[in-house]
């Protein structure tokens, strides 16, 4: 074994061992917060990872909590048949909290040593996550395993994906030839997981490239790597097709209901899923390639972590909390617009306002998720603004004004008959302008005639009302 090969292998494995620390921590500290003494956390983590990676190949591209719970409960109940649903939930939540680094608020950071080319031992550190939370297209929370987590879970010591895939193909062929159908099914399922891993690896690689695009050489390094992955994925097609045909022909030789036949059908399903995963991977590759090409051609580099960002706790929150009320009274209104998103102002809508004023009651406001503020909320019945008697009296008066009249004339006539503070006058003041916005069932039209209203106490443009619909 060459020195360089040996060094590469031990360095890679040392890092992989260090990356497993969160799993070991979970087992070592299992009695500290939640009593998990009866359970082997390595096994539960393994079940959880299995469930999540399997769901990552599905339509939501991640595992909903219910799927994690379902898979974990199978094992928890075997260890403790009396375990309640609440206990399973507590265990699942505890593992997820830990492996997702406080549900996304933090990262894991491990230090490890490597042997450098010079032969000296150097200390390095690696920041990473194992589980992440994402939103599905339907805005539901799903869990995904990072490329590091998949790598660790699928026995990442000395990991080399392409070689493992080739080995897996050989194992599958071997089991099929020997008639070991159950084992063949398991090998096929491993194929599917490798496909998920490859996609996660590509995604992680793209994110890494996005963050340091200005440091990587697109033509020299990125392009060949993309081409290599593409070639590898395309080569899977014929292999998977051959495996499916092989499984199919062997399954047909077995009688219906035979265990071996069921295993082979499951194996075929797993290979088909893997094939689907590869199709998705090709699409991602295409997108990734196009994206990088765009960046390259436009010389546009994404901003990474800005050193200008203050530490959220010591550089932002604590200084803010130390300000006095007098200072905060000035600071808060200046900072406020920065924290909340732009709001779309509501444009004035006169016809809607008129409709609202003429409506008997307000529509209940159901869109807001905000709870009513008890201090502002008074359970009172709003008085009806205009009674049917008021409306009828005003309508009767307007009918006496003839086929054409001005808004001022209508207001003056109403004030003279019912008084300047009468509800009839208020009703006419909002009813007449409503005809300005012609609606299908209106039998009157109001048009501006120029100049203001000439009745004291009212402001706005003069309108002339005519009977009949618009020409």
């Amino acid at each position: 074994m060459s020195e360089a090969f040996w060094r590469g292998a031990v360095n890679r494995r040392a890092k992989n061992l260090a990356l497993m620390k969160p799993f070991f921590d979970l087992e070592a500290n299992k009695g500290m917060t939640v009593d998990l003494g009866d359970y082997d956390m390595h096994l539960l983590c393994s079940v959880l990872m299995e469930a999540i990676i399997a769901e990552m190949g599905g339509i939501t591209a991640g595992a909903p909590y219910s799927a994690v719970l379902r898979e974990l409960s199978k094992v928890v109940l075997k260890v403790n048949p009396a375990a309640t649903a609440g206990e399973v939930d507590r265990i699942a939540s505890h593992i997820i909290d830990h492996l997702s680094s406080g549900r996304g608020r933090d990262h894991f950071e491990v230090s490890y040593q490597i042997i450098a080319e010079s032969g000296a031992v150097e200390k390095l550190s690696h920041v990473y996550r194992l589980l992440e939370q994402r939103l599905s297209p339907e805005d539901e929370l799903v869990y995904v395993a990072t490329s590091e987590a998949i790598h660790i879970y699928l026995s990442g010591l000395g990991h080399e994906l392409e070689a493992e895939q080739a080995a897996n193909d050989a194992i599958l062929d071997h089991y099929l030839r020997r008639g070991k159908h159950k084992e063949a099914g398991e090998a096929a399922d491993m194929e599917r997981k490798r496909s998920v891993e490859l996609r996660a690896q590509l995604r992680g690689w793209l994110i890494a490239a996005e963050r340091s695009f200005d440091e990587i050489q697109y033509a020299a390094k990125v392009l060949p790597e993309l081409a290599e992955i593409r070639q590898r994925v395309e080569a899977r097609g014929p292999v998977e097709q051959r495996q499916i045909e092989e499984i199919q022909s062997r399954a047909l030789q077995l009688p219906p209901g035979d265990d071996g036949r069921v295993n082979l059908i499951n194996a075929r399903k797993a290979i088909e899923d893997a094939s689907l995963e590869h199709t998705r991977l090709l699409a991602e590759l295409q997108r990734c390639s196009r994206t990088l090409l765009d960046w390259q051609s436009h010389h546009r580099f994404r901003r990474g972590e800005s050193p200008a960002i203050p530490d959220p706790l010591t550089g932002f929150l604590q200084p803010l909390l130390r300000l006095t009320h007098a200072e905060l009274a000035v600071a808060i209104p200046r900072l406020w617009p920065l924290l909340v998103p732009p709001r779309l102002p509501v444009l004035p809508d006169l016809p809607a306002l008129m409709d609202s004023l003429l409506a008997d009651t307000r529509d209940p406001h159901e869109l807001s998720e905000l709870e009513p503020m008890p201090e502002n909320y008074e359970d009172i019945v709003a008085p009806k603004r205009f009674s049917p008697e008021v409306c009828a009296a005003a309508d009767e008066l307007l009918a006496t004004l003839g086929a054409s009249f001005t808004l001022s004339a209508a207001l003056a006539a109403t004030a003279a008959k019912f008084g300047p503070a009468s509800p009839e006058l208020s009703y006419v003041s909002v009813l007449v302008p409503r005809w300005f916005e012609l609606e299908g069932d209106d039998d009157r039209i109001a048009r501006p005639t120029g100049g203001p209203i000439s009745v004291p106490g009212f402001f706005g443009d003069e309108l002339t009302v005519t009977k009949g619909t618009a020409a």
């Binding site: 909590y65 990262h107 929370l141 932002f316 803010l320 909390l321 300000l323 808060i332 998103p341």
Partner: protein
């Protein structure tokens, strides 16, 4: 102006309109996906969109490709919210408490530079209200204990952490951290920055990637202003005015 240019302006404005709504995502809208693709591949279209945004005193921030764009306010633009948008009948002291709670929430959700800096990360953070309340109470009380402050008659001279520390974490009524932080979270959910979900009987509040943009923007922009305030205090000069 050619009809092609007109079409570009129309589509750029449409993209901006979609980006202004934090609830819209590329995953759910084919229209958004198409416009975003053009934004990333057509430099002229990209420039047009950014110019329209600048004209409206807005700034476009790119999120992960599967999420879309986010928009933040520049200076005192027409879309900048005012304090009156949030419980308009509040007294001045109440505004301060709610403003500080909002700042505490951002620091709790993104407690490190790394967490607040990952704009292109499509992963989300979820929190539980109980843990947030406990953290806010402990943080403010620790600050009060370290500062060893004496009671002062003039409320204007009290520090911000005292207003938070004096609130009971849990209990009935409005005068608790739990009530007020829930109100803030509900308000942010109404603006599309948070989602509330149930998981195994627990209530989870999920911060959308758009909230990270606002938090980052707040922290970056407030830094200089905080230094200005603390500098004025150290010099013994009057508090900067707006």
């Amino acid at each position: 102006m050619t009809s092609e240019q007109n079409g570009g302006i129309y589509e750029a404005a449409r993209l901006l309109r979609l980006a202004l709504n934090a609830r819209e995502t590329v995953a759910r809208s084919a229209d958004y996906q198409q416009l975003l693709q053009r934004f990333h591949t057509d430099p002229e279209f990209r420039e047009t969109t950014q110019q329209i945004a600048r004209g409206l005193d807005l700034q476009i921030i790119e999120l992960a490709r599967d999420i879309g764009l986010a928009v933040v306010n520049i200076a005192e633009g027409p879309y900048a919210p005012t304090l009156d948008d949030f419980r308009s009948n509040m007294r001045a002291r109440e505004r301060i408490v709610y403003g500080l709670l909002l700042a505490m929430l951002t620091a709790y959700v993104y407690p490190s530079r790394r967490a607040v800096g990952e704009l292109d990360d499509s992963s989300v953070v979820s929190i539980e209200l109980r843990a947030l309340v406990e953290w806010a109470s402990t943080t403010s009380r620790q600050m009060k204990s370290i500062a060893n402050v004496e009671d002062v008659a003039n409320a204007d001279l009290r520090a911000g952490f005292e207003s938070i520390a004096v609130l009971e974490p849990f209990g009935d009524g409005q005068n608790t951290l739990q009530y007020r932080l829930r109100y803030v979270l509900n308000w942010l959910a109404d603006h599309g920055l948070f989602l509330r979900r149930e998981e195994g009987g627990r209530e989870l509040w999920i911060a959308r990637p758009h909230f990270r943009v606002q938090a980052r923007f707040l922290m970056l922009s407030s830094h200089d202003r905080l230094i200005e305030f603390l500098g004025a205090r150290a010099d013994g000069t009057t508090t900067p005015t707006s």
